[in-house]
């Protein structure tokens, strides 16, 4: 595995990224409020928007590829339709969808462009109707900030998992708003959760430097991915398409690749000069993209920050 593309253009820490369903476009957001849509195959920037807030910690691409959602310290989630008309200002068509009472930590579209699921530092998750901004369902139960969420790839498409600072990972029923299952074995904040491709399990990465696999049918943790030499927290995790490999980005600037079934580490990838903040495998599994807080000082006037695509 090596870096195949380096996307330079953010002037500050990259906090979050998401792939488009067309397998080559990505949206990324950074600390200075910039949200950029790239065609990562050609490394061209296609759209850029500056949010009025800093620390845009959540961004998501709509399934149709026609809109993006992002949010952060402004406590809101805003949806921007993507237009190829050069004269139009993207910020003009912005729609404010979610309203929380604390920062937005994660957002994700459900199966369509019409609904958005958000997680916030106020300890709740919520499901919103994009068109009207109406709250469809809210999910209470976390005792502290919710940091991440992921939708289940199930047949009925009705559940999602969220992880928070209370060390708990909770599985919710989207229809009733109830917590269906809860798992509390981590020793520190859970930074990232991701479902196994079959939807029967999910992995979580936490500040306690371990990643863990929880099975939903067995209702327990079934594997811990840790090593004594790894002491920094895992900030983001994702599975390869077959679920055999787990890619995890850590705060010690490395990416560790774990064999999910054997529980051992397959490889360690160096390539960033600061903590890896976000990592996603592309929808068709051909590559994964990692974003980090690093910057390379070129001249006194500008800094580049990198997103890297590995394959």
């Amino acid at each position: 595995m090596k870096t195949r593309r380096t996307l330079k253009g953010h002037g500050n820490k990259v906090l979050c990224m998401d792939w488009c369903k067309d397998k080559r476009r990505i949206v990324s957001s950074s600390q200075d409020g910039k949200v950029i849509v790239w065609d990562s195959f050609t490394t061209n920037k296609e759209h850029a928007v500056t949010m009025p807030c800093t620390w845009v910690m959540a961004c998501a691409y709509a399934p149709s590829g026609c809109a993006i959602a992002c949010g952060g310290l402004d406590n809101k989630c805003s949806v921007y339709p993507l237009t190829f008309d050069k004269n139009e200002n993207m910020a003009a068509k912005k729609k404010s969808v979610a309203m929380h009472t604390n920062y937005l930590s994660a957002c994700s579209f459900t199966n369509s462009d019409m609904q958005i699921l958000t997680a916030s530092g106020d300890g709740t998750c919520a499901l919103w109707d994009v068109e009207s901004g109406q709250l469809l369902q809210s999910f209470h139960g976390h005792g502290a900030d919710v940091l991440c969420l992921d939708l289940a790839p199930s047949e009925t498409g009705n559940t999602f998992v969220s992880g928070g600072c209370d060390k708990k990972a909770m599985v919710w029923d989207m229809r009733s708003g109830q917590c269906v299952q809860a798992f509390e074995t981590h020793e520190s904040d859970i930074n990232s959760v991701r479902y196994y491709p079959s939807g029967d399990a999910f992995a979580s990465g936490s500040d306690d430097a371990t990643c863990r696999l929880y099975d939903l049918r067995a209702d327990r943790e079934v594997a811990i991915y840790s090593k004594e030499s790894i002491i920094f927290g895992a900030s983001s995790v994702d599975f390869s398409l077959s679920g055999r490999l787990l890619f995890a980005g850590y705060n010690d600037y490395t990416i560790n690749v774990w064999d999910v079934l054997k529980g051992s580490r397959v490889s360690i990838l160096f390539g960033h000069e600061n903590r890896v903040s976000t990592l996603r495998v592309s929808p068709d599994g051909t590559a994964f993209c990692s974003g980090s807080w690093d910057h390379t000082l070129r001249t006194k006037n500008y800094l580049f920050v990198s997103l890297q695509v590995w394959a």
Binding site: W55, M114, S138, L245
Partner: protein, 527 residues
Amino acid sequence: MAAGPASHGGLRRAQRPHLSKMERMVVSMQDPDQGVKMRSQRLLITVIPHAVTGNDIMEWLIHKYCITEEEALHLGTLLVRHGYLYPLRDPCHLELRLDETPYRFQTPYFWMSTLWPAAELDYAIYLAKKNIRKRGGLFDHEKEHYDQLHRKISHTWDLVVMQAREQLWAAKQRRKGDRLVIACQEQTYWLVNRPPPGVPSVLEQGPERNSCTAGRVQMPTGPFQTKTVDFYRREVECLRKALGRARVKSSVCLEAYLKFSSQRGPHDPIMSGCLPSNPWVTDNDTYWAMNAPSAAVPTRLRVEQWAFSFRELLEDPVGRAHFMDFLSKEFSAENLSFWEACEELRHGGQAQVPALVDAVYQQFLAPGAARWVNIDSRTMERTLVGLGRPHRHVLDDAQLHIYMLMKKDSYPRFLKSDLYKDLLAEAVVPPKTKRRSARWCPGRQAFTRRNRPGSGSRLVTRKRLQEIPAGFSTTAPITLVTQTFVSLKPPGLLLPGRLPELSPGGHRCWGGPPACPGWESAHRLGS
């Protein structure tokens, strides 16, 4: 130092478990028996005891944690950057050098967990000392800070200068060796807490997180639960449900993962490569064109994937279209149309819900409807009652019923049908494109695919797993991955890391003790 250990009131909540882990590591490094080899280092005429070299540290890390050199170097560098080790020579750069540069362990007084956040007053005193000791000894950024601080706390500047002088005088009373060491320690501490421009600060954190678990749940305005008896009643109910929930044995679940991963292994581009080639590797996007959602002729792998589960058939637009054709032949296409309409309702906009519900009812559920779907009477009754107050989930029961009907009945027949068999036969298997790139070395052995996808035995016994491709276990810049099916291995060969027998408890019994360096390796990125 003027200030004592910093109070933890201002300290962000202990979201830094890595610091205590680093400290434990550093403490074990200093263990007289098992720790790093310490020696006395001669610096000019002074002899400093308990010094270690970069190489010693690396060796110790490699030995203790079974990691490679590269990882040990990285870990050692992190220890230095966080100020737990400091170089005795040239303490301006916090790096781990592998030459004879001596390093020492930072005193716990200056650890990040003890003395944080760094106080402005202390920094002012430090800079003043430096200034007094050697005129013009301050770096540019330090001069700037000095001036800034002078302006900010000018009212207590006398105190600062007085403290600085006192500390310098006290230092003079010490032995030269101690003086040198203390100066290095202090300098390292300030390098970590006030890094020079261009050096990333290791103290950077994201926005503040709140982890208090004592029922501090902020409530957005609205008709949501408050922490009343009701709330706790619901909690109790939830927990009672959890107690009564049926659980599957872990061993059964693990079997399911095995089966899933081996079934999908050939479809995973990272594991098994993809034909004609991975677009990111060869810069050729034919693979995407061939697998586009609306491709006329689907690839073999894609058609095979429809047989894995009903969900995957429906998720693929081409697959769904073919399934619709099949259903039309069987005169049950209205089932799929109904399911699609329900999906649209569930995921559509809130404003469209009443209209959509009505349309679905007219088309599929009303007696004498044009495309009437066959639902059992109980579900139909429930649905009709719910239609009185339409909401997006009112058709969920009916939708599930029809979904299950298709899944259990139509889907298996589809897979056995001639239509599907023809699709499989006509499906395209793209040829592998040869990689043409400057990085290709003619002498290197070509990595070829041993098997075309779809052929070869996919039957994997429980204890044999597809090997992780070579791309992960060598340091050469491998761009094409080999694919080795288990069935091709000679029968007597034991695969490395055969999955151990799982105990009924399913506890953490796989993986075992940390693997040796031969098994994993660091992969330095090329270019």
